[in-house]
Amino acid sequence: MSMAPVKLWDFHGGIHPEQNKLQSTTEPSALAQLPKKLVLPLHQHIGEAAEPIVEIGDTVLKGQKIANANGYVSAPVHAPTSGKIIDISEHPIPHPSGLSALAIVIEPDGRDAWVEYTPDQDYSEKNPSHLRNIIREAGIVGLGGAGFPSFIKLNPGSQKKIKTLILNGVECEPYITCDDMLMREDAHSIIEGVHIMRHALQAEECVIAIEDNKPEAYESICKAAAGIAGLRVALVPTRYPQGSEKQLVQVITGKEVPSNGLALHIGVVCHNVATAAAIYRAIHLGQPLISRMVTITGQAVKQPRNLEVLIGTPMDELLQQCGAEFDQIERLVMGGPMMGFALHEINLPVIKTTNCIIAATREELGLDRPAMPCIRCGACADVCPVKLLPQQLYWHARAKELDKVQEYDLFDCIECGCCSYVCPSNIPLVQYYRFAKGAIWTQEQEHKKSDQARERHEFRLMRIEREKREREAKRAKKKAPRPKTDTAKPPPVDGAQMADKMRQEAMAQRDSAEAARKTEIQAALARVQAKKKDAAPKTDAPVAANSPTPAAASTQASTPTSDSDSSADTATHKDHEQSQ
């Protein structure tokens, strides 16, 4: 390396769990076999689920878009191979809940025929927003595990200047080696991706961070990055959770990401190395994100290794390819042992964020140790990389004191699991924090809903009260003698004297005519009254008097501010008259 080594900083806490990475790096990566069917969930990323644009029975080509992004924070889904759409329905997905979600199922035709695509190598001529659009359309999301749509993180915003782009090749979690393998085997794609990212962000410099337990990957990246201005490779001492964005930013720049803030706020953007490679493929080759590197490991797997897997491939087929002993699998974990989650089924599809599948045996998990009471040793606080007080959080989360956990900055917790790892009492601390976070979100939503309900209820009470008053007023009016037509005329309210004068003249003219007309009107009135007397027993008020008139209620329901009660009232009257 021609450039000076990157000065490194420190972050608080952290742990050194057993690596378990060697098992899956003894062999080079291989292509996964084409499965019998591919299941593509529409929600593989953070944000809104994609919307399908194909129908059952359609034939699709490899790389063809089959679902559109729905909203800004969303990502489209593409067909990983050519074939036929055989189903669009709910399928179990890899998610801690074990729930099902809408997915498109493709039956491969074996031809693996690509859709027509246009490689575009002159990205440096292109506007960054144009590049972001291509990346968005390629369905690229953060491949490190979170799955946040990448194009958003390539948008520096209007006023922010991006100083450092950090490329995360740390891969600090045990067992996972997919980024390691990718850096060893395809450093070229990563470096090309870095160029595109730097162009999109207009970032001053780029640092690729690799932990020192991956010397081969470091060498390979260094070779590919040699001689590129403003690009440095940092070999960082291995420590978990260094690969977490906020901790890595601190290690590389010495700056702490503010609480409730983003790295972007301090001029830093962090992307995973695999995302860079995917961006390279999207821009240079025109290929969307349809496959990724996945580590298949765990003691139940005989030949643990990395596979280049089509998105949507069922995991059991991958396990089979790596010689898994299915009866030995005690638990199937997606992600690493620290932050991953247990899967409920064995045949779930690989999604964009599946970096690792661990088929763990019983002895590997250490499940037999029961949780004991907290002894307040404080070991958790020593290792917390965010400098929280995990035991305080634990007590309050356990007692469901949701406001107290927030006082202890629960939402700064990155759920890395260091505290649970060192806990001598084996308390599942992170589970309590996750529960508390979810409960707080639920509570906030419910508060919003209950405020709305209270408003509507109070408005309803007010409306019923008002209707009652109006009915009483109406009844009182009916009882009172009818005012004569003449006196009912309003006095001139208009200030303009001209108008007054003109009106008076007009009235004088009319007076003579009116005398003649009056007799006519009176006769007409008498006729109407006679008619009304006939119909009176039927059409009189009981319907309206009953209580909130249905039509009024419904108008109120849809537009709480509307004031059309009286008109709705008469409308119902008519309804009833007609029906009788």
């Binding site: 998610h95 209950s450 309900a453 419904s554």
Partner: protein, 193 residues
Amino acid sequence: MLTAILVLSALSLVFGLILGFAAVRFKVEGDPLVEQIDAQLPQTQCGQCGYPGCRPYAEAIANEGAEINQCPPGGEVTIIALADLLDREPLPLNPENGAIKPKTVAFIDEQTCIGCTLCIQACPVDAILGAAKQMHTIIESECTGCDLCLPPCPVDCIEMVEIKQDMLTWKWPYPEKPIAQKSTPDNPLEASA
């Protein structure tokens, strides 16, 4: 002796005036405690607590010493919040008021509905849309799942449908109770449940 009496009388007069002025000037309209309690209640207006709505229940808690464990829709979270607010001991939910049920919304079978408007009159939050002899329907986003529209319906065309969990609404559950801590509960809710 006389000076002391005079000074003290003067002081008490001055303070009396200040207090009297403050009582008028800073008079609190309404009962803020009732507002605070009401803010914690789920506003389903279902009446399961035995009072005709959330606000009457809040008033009863504040003024008549009603228990804080009579709100099934609010569940444990509401009880803890009320206990915290009123500095009372949290109690388990009173089973007489009903059990905690999953969240639901009403659904009207529009084929069966005869358009009688009885449910519209029963709905405390005006979440039912319709008119006489017209088909009624639920405004799902406004429905609080209070069940109050069920009894008046003459043709039983309303059904409470459980709100389905999806990936966006799913939340991590409370961790299973660790075995070793069963004997030393520090959470009164767990203890009595």
